[in-house]
């Protein structure tokens, strides 16, 4: 028997009006991997994320998580199975304190507030969020801190698979380095599988062991970072010239 992939999509199609935003995508993610998902604007990466997390229901195709079909499940059930995500634009709980926001995530697996709060603290510490930040409200912290809180909130749900959408956007070079380290740490120390959508090539190339390239809703290449970056189809896609 084949080794079961953690996440597998088969011919997933999602349309908006006449546009096929995701056009027959089949990918698979193994346990423990860090996969980079790249492609020009509008390639369908975020839409694919939305299909996986149940925000959108794909019109065609199937999505499996740990061998179980999740294509038509509602988001909350999918998250419970062990998928979490973050967004390119942070979505903080502005009027809640940081620790409360993370606790909200932890409540998924810890029904008691005290336990959840304990868990939240643990995750915050793991991500290096300083104690004084935890009491601040969501609208009182910096962008980098926001990104970490979003990550912490997602991690607090104890996911097996974490989908990270352009976490580097808007960060300064030093912050970017910290973020790269943090992602590595999440993968190594917690064993969380990561799928990272990214525009910043430095980030993708330095953390991903495997890269999947999407263009106009389709997967056009996948492989090791160095292979992919030399692929002529990929280069053409990024330059905006249609491959013949």
């Amino acid at each position: 028997m084949m080794v079961e992939a953690l996440l597998e999509t088969k011919d997933v199609v999602k349309r908006f009006g006449g546009i096929r935003a995701v056009d027959g995508v089949s990918i698979s993610v193994e346990r423990g991997e860090i996969v980079g998902l790249i492609g020009p604007n509008g390639a369908g990466k975020t839409t694919l994320f939305n299909c996986i997390t149940g925000t959108y229901t794909p019109e065609e195709g199937h999505i499996f998580f740990e061998g179980k079909e999740i294509t038509k499940l509602p988001s909350n059930k999918i998250i419970r199975l062990g998928i979490a995500r973050t967004w390119q634009v942070v979505r903080p709980f502005k009027k809640m304190s940081v620790i409360d926001a993370i606790t909200t995530g932890a409540l998924l697996r810890h029904g008691k507030i005290d336990e959840a709060r304990e868990k939240a603290r643990e995750v915050a510490q793991f991500l290096g969020l300083p104690e004084e930040i935890l009491k601040k409200r969501g609208d009182e912290i910096t962008l980098m801190q926001h990104k970490l809180v979003d990550l912490a909130r997602a991690l607090a749900t104890e996911p097996k698979l974490l989908l990270i959408d352009e976490v580097g956007a808007g960060l300064r070079p030093a912050e970017l380095n910290m973020m790269i380290e943090t992602l590595h740490k999440i993968n190594k120390e917690r064993g969380t599988t990561l799928v990272v959508v990214e525009h910043i090539m430095r980030l993708v190339m330095s953390i991903s062991k495997r890269v999947i390239v999407m263009h106009e809703g389709k997967v056009i290449a996948q492989g090791k970072p160095e292979e992919v970056s030399n692929n002529p189809q990929v280069i053409q896609a990024y330059l905006g010239i249609k491959p013949v």
Binding site: T55, S75, N76, A84, F93, K95, I113, R153, T157
Partner: protein, 319 residues
């Protein structure tokens, strides 16, 4: 609700109870002020109940009097038609009100109606209830029997009416208190802050919004009968759009999610409104409402988080 409770809030509740207990003593047996206190406290408890759906769960519900009216009318009719004493009837009234709320809430949340659309839907609900009850009950005023007594929750003494209204306020306050410290409270607030992000930490947002609606409509349904006792008669006009709006407005002025703010704003503004009515009613009609309007605009522009955040700021500055 297995949350651990810290000492601070208990103090808060005790203070609230003590203040509410002192009020009638302070009124020195003046029936007018007793009645006023009962009216104001009942209004406050409606605002506190609203806080669950509006303040915590962030759903701008403008249908308070729809739920309150249903509960009140059901309780009154059960007494008059079936002889069921209101002491039991108010819970049936609350349950019927909650049931109707849920029946409407399921499709509403199922189809993802939120923000202004939810506000419009609930505002329309009050008009629909008004029109339909007009068809069912006719235009007539209905009077409660003159009987008084504990099981009828009807008394000649305003102090007791006040005491009942005050216990509603305490109960509504406690429900808020437990909600805030429970998983439900965290989930409500997450939904209020960002529904999509809430989904992504595994919250069944539809179900939790229904929970909020359920608690809110049940509490209002239970309060409806006492409203009728104070108003002395009831008719389809109990379904009042502008009164429903004023409940939400008090919640907004108080500060979303702040029970204390809601209590303060509703008590102060409702009493002030009554003061203006009785003082300037004949010379400056509508002055109280005009002032509400001005307060709303000023708060919206300069203090969008309501008076509770203003109070917090002042406390911080001092402390």
């Amino acid at each position: 609700m297995r949350a651990s409770i810290t000492r601070g809030p208990i103090l808060e509740i005790l203070i609230l109870i003590v203040i509410l207990a002192i009020i009638p003593l302070a009124l020195m047996g003046n029936a007018y002020y007793e009645l006023l206190a009962a009216t104001v406290v009942l209004f406050s408890s409606m605002v506190v109940a609203w806080n669950i759906i509006g303040g915590y769960a962030g759903q701008l519900d403008l249908g308070a009097y729809a739920y309150m009216g249903v509960g009140g009318i059901v309780t009154a009719e059960l007494w008059m038609k079936a002889g069921i004493p209101p002491l039991l009837g108010i819970f049936v009234g609350g349950a019927v009100s909650a049931l109707i709320a849920i029946l409407i809430g399921i499709p509403t949340f199922r189809f993802g109606i939120k923000e202004v659309w939810y506000a419009l839907l609930t505002a329309a609900l009050v008009v629909i209830f008004n029109n339909i009850s007009r068809l069912l009950m006719g235009p007539f005023d209905y009077y409660l029997p003159p009987t008084t007594g504990f099981v009828y929750l009807k008394f000649n003494s305003y102090v007791i009416v006040y005491a009942i209204a005050a216990s509603f306020l305490i109960i509504a306050f406690l429900v808020n208190f437990f909600v805030e410290r429970s998983k439900m409270g965290y989930y409500f607030k997450a939904i209020r802050e960002d529904e999509l992000a809430a989904e992504m930490v595994g919250i069944d947002t539809r179900r939790y919004k229904l929970y909020a609606l359920l608690l809110y409509s049940f509490l209002l349904g239970v309060m409806g009968y006492i409203y009728i006792v104070i108003a002395a008669s009831y008719s389809y006009r109990i379904f009042d759009s502008s009164a429903s709006l004023s409940i939400a407005i008090m919640g907004i002025i108080g500060g979303l999610g702040s029970v204390e703010g809601g209590i303060i704003s509703s008590m102060v503004l409702r009493s002030l409104g009554e003061y203006f009515r009785s003082t300037f009613g004949s010379s400056l009609p509508g002055l109280d409402l005009l002032l509400y309007g001005a307060v709303l605009i000023l708060i919206g522009i300069f203090q969008p988080e309501g008076i509770s955040s203003l109070i917090n700021k002042l406390l911080k500055r001092k402390g």
